[in-house]
């Protein structure tokens, strides 16, 4: 006997009225996408439930993939057996003894198929007794058991589910349009991307590089971060903007202290243009109120002036340790702390203005016409598509 399917529960989706069908279909699609490398594994929907049919595949790798998909409230490994008392008993025992970190259990029987000869209440007792007499270390706890062995007797078969694993929550990615994530390589921006994805948003990323002041490794770091984010959604397009000339010009033309503000405004201008070209409706940043000079309220006000696209700032009110906690949980922290300079850390003025005023910045920007340099940067964008499936670098092929 072995677990042959995974039961998917999608709590919040059931609230979404008419859109529900669309959401559920998207979720099914996203799960299927994650399992593309496992052709024998299928995702099915019947009577308002979603299943992943394992068809002989070991359950754990599939669980690990599926539990990161947004829109899933919880999942459980399950076994399907015939409506036969002995088989149900065996399966319940298997479900209990094959769950980790379990000491206490209860059994909950649901008899939807009233044709089944044993009533729920009686079956609860039969199964509980069977589990106790065939194991040694488990005890019953009906109030807060470590595992609730659920037995659902339906018309076609009986389903036995074991422990409930929490899903990633949120909404299926792709149900809330697209955003463009400003991805620098630091700790914050990937977390911001993750949180946007959690609300069903699909992301593309934009990264500004300034070679030779920034290195290939800084760029690789961003691509590695984007790859981590694909765990939670579909493949991600990364727009890499050649920023050197523009950035150098900005710092030449702008008095010390205001360069940072002008640079941020240029980044937003370019980002907005990319949004227009790609049909993306908003920007997402890892900005966080008060973290550094460029992230004061005055600074945000001044930088925000250049675009009327909504800027989603999922981290805006978080503490740094909360952000770090998430970045560790989504596995981006170790990449983010690789010590390479990115375009935000080079040319940093000794004392950046913490309260850059709109009129001052507008005045400094009017001293030089940046249009050509902006255009050049946009035309030089390199688009890299990051897949969640192992990106085999050609150069390394065959080495492993």
């Amino acid at each position: 006997m072995e677990f042959d399917h995974i039961l998917i529960r999608y709590g919040e989706l059931s609230l979404k009225g008419k859109n529900r069908k669309k959401f559920v279909e998207k979720l099914q699609n996203n799960i299927q996408q994650k399992l593309v490398d496992f052709p024998e594994v299928k995702v099915k929907r019947t009577q308002g439930r979603m299943f992943v049919l394992l068809n002989g595949h070991a359950p754990q790798p599939i669980m690990d993939k599926v539990k990161n998909v947004f829109g899933i409230h919880s999942l459980s490994l399950a076994i399907k057996v015939e409506n036969d008392l002995e088989k149900i008993k065996d399966a319940a025992l298997y479900a209990l003894t094959n769950s980790e970190n379990v000491n206490t259990f209860k059994v909950s029987v649901k008899r939807i198929n009233k044709g089944f000869p044993v009533r729920s209440q009686e079956l609860n007792q039969i199964l509980g007794g069977h589990l106790l007499s065939n194991t040694e270390s488990y005890t019953v706890n009906v109030h807060s058991p470590d595992i609730d062995v659920r037995v659902e007797i339906r018309g076609e078969a009986t389903y036995i589910t074991s422990s409930v694993v929490r899903g990633a929550g949120g909404l299926p990615v792709g149900t809330s349009d697209k955003t463009l994530l400003l991805l620098s390589g630091g700790i914050d921006s990937p977390v911001a991307g993750y949180l946007a994805m959690k609300r069903g948003v699909q992301i593309e990323a934009i990264h500004f590089e300034s070679p030779p002041f920034t290195s290939d490794r800084a760029k690789q770091k961003v691509l590695d971060l984007a790859e981590k984010l694909t765990k939670f959604g579909p493949s991600i397009k990364v727009h890499v903007v050649p920023f050197t000339k523009l950035q150098q010009k900005i710092f030449q033309e702008t008095p010390d202290g205001y360069g940072m503000t002008v640079m941020r405004r240029m980044m937003l201008r370019i980002s907005e243009r990319v949004c227009q070209n790609e049909g993306i409706l908003s920007l997402t940043t890892g900005e966080n109120l008060g973290q550094v000079a460029s992230q004061t309220m005055t600074s945000m006000n001044t930088i925000n002036e250049v675009t009327n696209y909504p800027i989603i700032r999922p981290l805006v009110t978080m503490d740094k340790d909360e952000i770090i906690e998430i970045s560790k949980a989504i596995d981006t922290f170790d990449i983010s702390i690789r010590p390479y300079e990115d375009c935000c850390t080079i040319f940093v003025p000794k004392a950046p203005k913490t309260k850059p005023k709109r009129d001052r910045v507008n005045y400094y920007e009017s001293k030089f016409n940046y249009d050509d340099l902006i255009q050049e940067a946009i035309e030089g964008i390199e688009v890299i598509k990051i897949n969640d499936r192992k990106v085999e670098e050609d150069a390394f092929e065959g080495l492993f």
Binding site: E100, S215, D216, R217, Q220, D334, E393, A395, F396, G398, L399, F400
Partner: protein, 379 residues
């Protein structure tokens, strides 16, 4: 040539050599160099950790590349002892460990540590109760091998791991050098904090190996320097070695999955035939690793047999290669409770997935012939 000394070392797989050569030629830059070439080799280093982690079902930051089993065992044991001595100075190990663990622990005794060397039963297996009883308040480390290198006995690592889990203050190290690719060992949720593996026992190259070091486990480094390998093992990375090791690991895992049945058949055949030989007694217990068969020919000096077979192109060994130069009795077989006649006449056949039934048959014939010829000189 019939090579039956695979527990001493194995013949490198041609694919492994190819990887080593390719990396040495094309990716020779120092991964710590900040130029582009260094960037590439660093990427390859990260990639090899990812691959190793995937094969072992662990995290990539839990892989430390080493020069092999001896180094892995020393980093683990001395690293724990030196880092955590404030917490206690008691170490538990067994009497049948590989010299790199056994002597490593002995050396710590000279530094003021107290070491309990647990006995084994006649099958060469340590008792779980003994392990549990030996744990004290000041115990900081349990180091027990998975598969014994001389007789192939398998230690109850899973059960000891469960005991270790109940004592969160101590660390559990497993020398998995002989088990790797032959006897499955799960690291996930196993209670194992450190696990040593070696490349050249799995058709990889000498000078390659890895140490699994569970997240959060702190070690005192034996080599200080440029902080490579999470500062546990400074020194410019042997990238070609690391990549070739990961390839060897992949290949052996594939063979383990597909061919373990075949290896077991060879083992059963070999044992059965040896049992039928009048002058031969088996030292390897019934339940043991599939690749090691240890036996004694009481009264015959083992070197004589090694040389007789060697002249005919058949290579086996006396006890383990690491201790066979000291011509005394086998410490391991002695620990199993056998007398000197047996401990001084032990021979070891160790198989690989490359060996065939024909080779085993030829070996058995030649062994039989040799015994008949040498009968007169035997006491």
């Amino acid at each position: 040539m019939i090579y039956l000394d695979n527990s001493a070392t194995t013949k490198p797989h041609p694919e492994v050599l190819k990887s080593f050569e390719q990396v040495s030629t094309s990716f020779f830059a120092n991964p710590s160099s900040i130029h582009q070439l260094g960037g590439e080799t660093e990427k390859l280093l990260i990639k090899s950790k990812q691959q190793a982690a995937m094969l072992l079902k662990v995290h990539e930051d839990e892989i430390i590349f080493t020069s092999g089993g001896t180094e892995g065992n020393n980093i683990a044991i001395k690293g724990i002892a030196l880092e955590h001595q404030g917490r206690g100075k008691h170490i538990i190990t067994t009497e049948i460990e590989h010299p790199s663990v056994y002597e490593g622990c002995k050396s710590l005794e000279k530094l003021g540590f107290e070491v309990t060397f647990l006995p084994v039963n006649q099958d060469g297996v340590v008792s779980i109760e003994d392990v549990e009883k030996a744990i004290r308040k000041d115990t900081i480390l349990i180091s027990i091998m998975h598969v014994n290198n001389e007789i192939g006995s398998i230690q109850p690592i899973k059960e000891i791991g469960e005991i270790a889990k109940k004592h969160p203050k101590l660390f559990f190290h497993v020398d998995h050098v002989q088990g790797l690719g032959k006897v499955p060992l799960s690291l996930d949720n196993s209670g194992i904090d450190l696990c040593t593996m070696s490349g050249h026992k799995i058709h990889g190259l000498k000078g390659t190996g890895l140490l699994y070091c569970r997240r959060g486990v702190k070690l005192f480094p034996l080599f200080h320097g440029g902080d490579q390998e999470f500062a546990i093992r400074s020194g410019t990375e042997n990238l070609a070695g690391a990549v070739s090791l990961v390839k060897a690991l992949r290949l052996i895992k594939e063979r383990e999955e597909k061919e373990s049945g075949k290896l077991l058949e060879l083992n059963h055949f070999l044992r059965q035939e040896l049992k039928n030989m009048e002058k031969v007694v088996l030292n390897t217990p019934e339940e043991s690793a599939p690749h090691i068969v240890n036996f004694s020919i009481p009264g015959l000096k083992p070197e004589v047999m090694i040389h007789t077979l060697g002249k005919q192109g058949i290579f086996i060994s006396t006890k383990s290669a690491c201790s066979s130069k000291d011509l005394d009795e086998s410490r391991i077989i002695k620990a199993c409770g056998y007398n000197q006649i047996r401990t001084k006449s032990a021979l070891r056949v160790s198989l690989s997935y490359d060996n065939t039934i024909e080779e085993v048959k030829i070996f058995l014939n030649k062994l039989n012939e040799a015994i008949n010829q040498l009968k007169e000189v035997m006491e």
